[in-house]
Amino acid sequence: MRLHFADYLIIFLYFVFVIAVGFIIKKRIKSSNDFLNSNRSIPLWITSLAFISANLGAQEVLGMVASGAKYGIMTVHFYWVGAIFAMVFLGVFMMPFYYGSKARSVPEYLKLRFDEKTRALNALTFAVMTVFSSGISLYALAKLLEVILGWNFDLCIWAAAGIVMVYTFMGGLTSAVYNEVLQFFLIVLGLSPLIIVALQDAGGWEGLKANLEPQMTHAWKYMDRAEHNKMGINFMSLIFGLGFVMSFGYWCTDFLVVQRAMIAKNMSAAQRTPIIAAIPKLLMPIIVVLPGVVAIALMQPALASKGYAIPMGANGEIDYTMTLPSLISHYYPTGLLGVGITALIASFMSGMAGNVTAFNSVFTYDIYQSYFVKDKSDKHYLNVGKMITLFGILFSIGTAYIAASFNNINDFLQLVFSFVNGPLFATFMLGMFWKRTSSEGAFWGLLGGTIAAAITHGLTLAEGKGGWIAPMFPISSGMGQAFIVASFSWLANFVITIVVSLLTKPKSDDELRGLVYSLTEKVYATEKKWYLRVGPLSIILLIITILLNFIFF
């Protein structure tokens, strides 16, 4: 793939704009609250698009296209079974606690609801995960640009991290959020022409169905038994593991995304943020799943004349990660090629800036201010927040080089994510909806759930991974293994939390007011127009989601 002047000009223009956004926002930053929390002043349309864009990192975009090629339309379950239901649940039931409690972060909510040690456990694991995630995203982008464009790996890492650093350092969370919206539109508009031309080349949806095995074009039909589909799981594991535990664990408790809703102007906007975000999320498979399915169809003998193939990896097997870059390279001419490459760069920056801004909020408020230096001036915490941004970027660069040294570190990190996020949702669910949940119950449940995840991983083996205790239960795909690990960790947390809570003393009702469902004044719709209310919007979304599942059954 070779870029020309017009391509470089578009990439350069994008860099100018993201840095300019940082400069524009800079003059609004007066306090640590402005820098780390955007002073809860961001309009709804921006928080909603930033909510979805923070999740639209390079790993998400490249990974979902790769999964589309590997597993087919079943990949839409991440959206139509997982994300949408969880986002609606977050908006309707959980945002009133996050926003209403005035907590500045998810770990701070845990402190208010439970105690310091539960907050510390969550804050530390989250801080470490965000830095590693940001670094691996940086590594992935630099590697991609090195492979497809021949750019220097080190230069890519330092230049990309430098640009993110400039705009997050100057404008903090607001700057990151504003750029996420620009990045969202760039990803959508930059990749839309690709799916149109590639799908047309493959003969449209009918062409896909004619050229692919039926498992690739049905979302549910082959999920009766694990051996009937490429993901290697049945519908029960999918609904519980992905639809309930993993998705709710991520969308409802991960501060990276929840932070975008917590900076909305008021409670109504905070509740609607994930619900409005669910509308583009519902359609996102067109951009990030369908290209993968089309790519595999184009490789079938009947379409061999199109001359497209996903590149092979060093092991002689299809390198699914290269599906999207290879489609861009095949279909985009000079000009649009620059837009496509910029969209890939934008997806990386969106993910990295999201991680860095969530990291500096949690580190400043939940670690530094809570355990190291209390009762200093706001100016002090503003400066610390800025310094932490620099350190966060430098740590990310460090982890990017660690990732370059260990080729399985990404798998390891994903595993750690499923260990931590899976059980966490049980802690929140019980904490928010069962007032008897005690601080001891929450802490030991969280710890026990994480250990249960490790044990489950040690007893299952998928694609050569896991089974380090004893490979007693083989699973045909790594994704299926992740669902099962998450399910067991959630169950373990759920049971341990209940048992320990029943044996220990809960907090008093007075302490839990505003933090637990039964002790919180219910928020009723304040918006006059029905289409601005959380309830009707949620119902319409869920009906459309269910219909889509039937259409692609």
Binding site: A6, I24, V181, L189, P333
Partner: protein, 64 residues
């Protein structure tokens, strides 16, 4: 004009108008960009960019 740079929708609109102009001018003048997909994508981005710029202007009028 400078005040409008504080509005995100204006900034996004401006970005896509400029990208669209690169694609469209390139389509008209440069041989390597003379592909229909550049023309159609450029037109699409131009319409989107103008929409984003105008939608904010209307909001401004409503506020004033």
């Amino acid at each position: 004009m400078l005040k409008k740079l504080n509005q995100l929708s204006f900034v996004i609109g401006l970005f896509f108008i400029l990208v669209a102009l690169i694609l469209l001018v390139g389509y008209l003048l440069g041989a390597s960009l003379k592909q229909p997909i550049n023309l159609y994508s450029g037109l699409g981005m131009l319409v989107f960019g103008i929409f984003m710029v105008l939608i904010k202007e209307q909001e401004e009028e409503n506020h004033s």
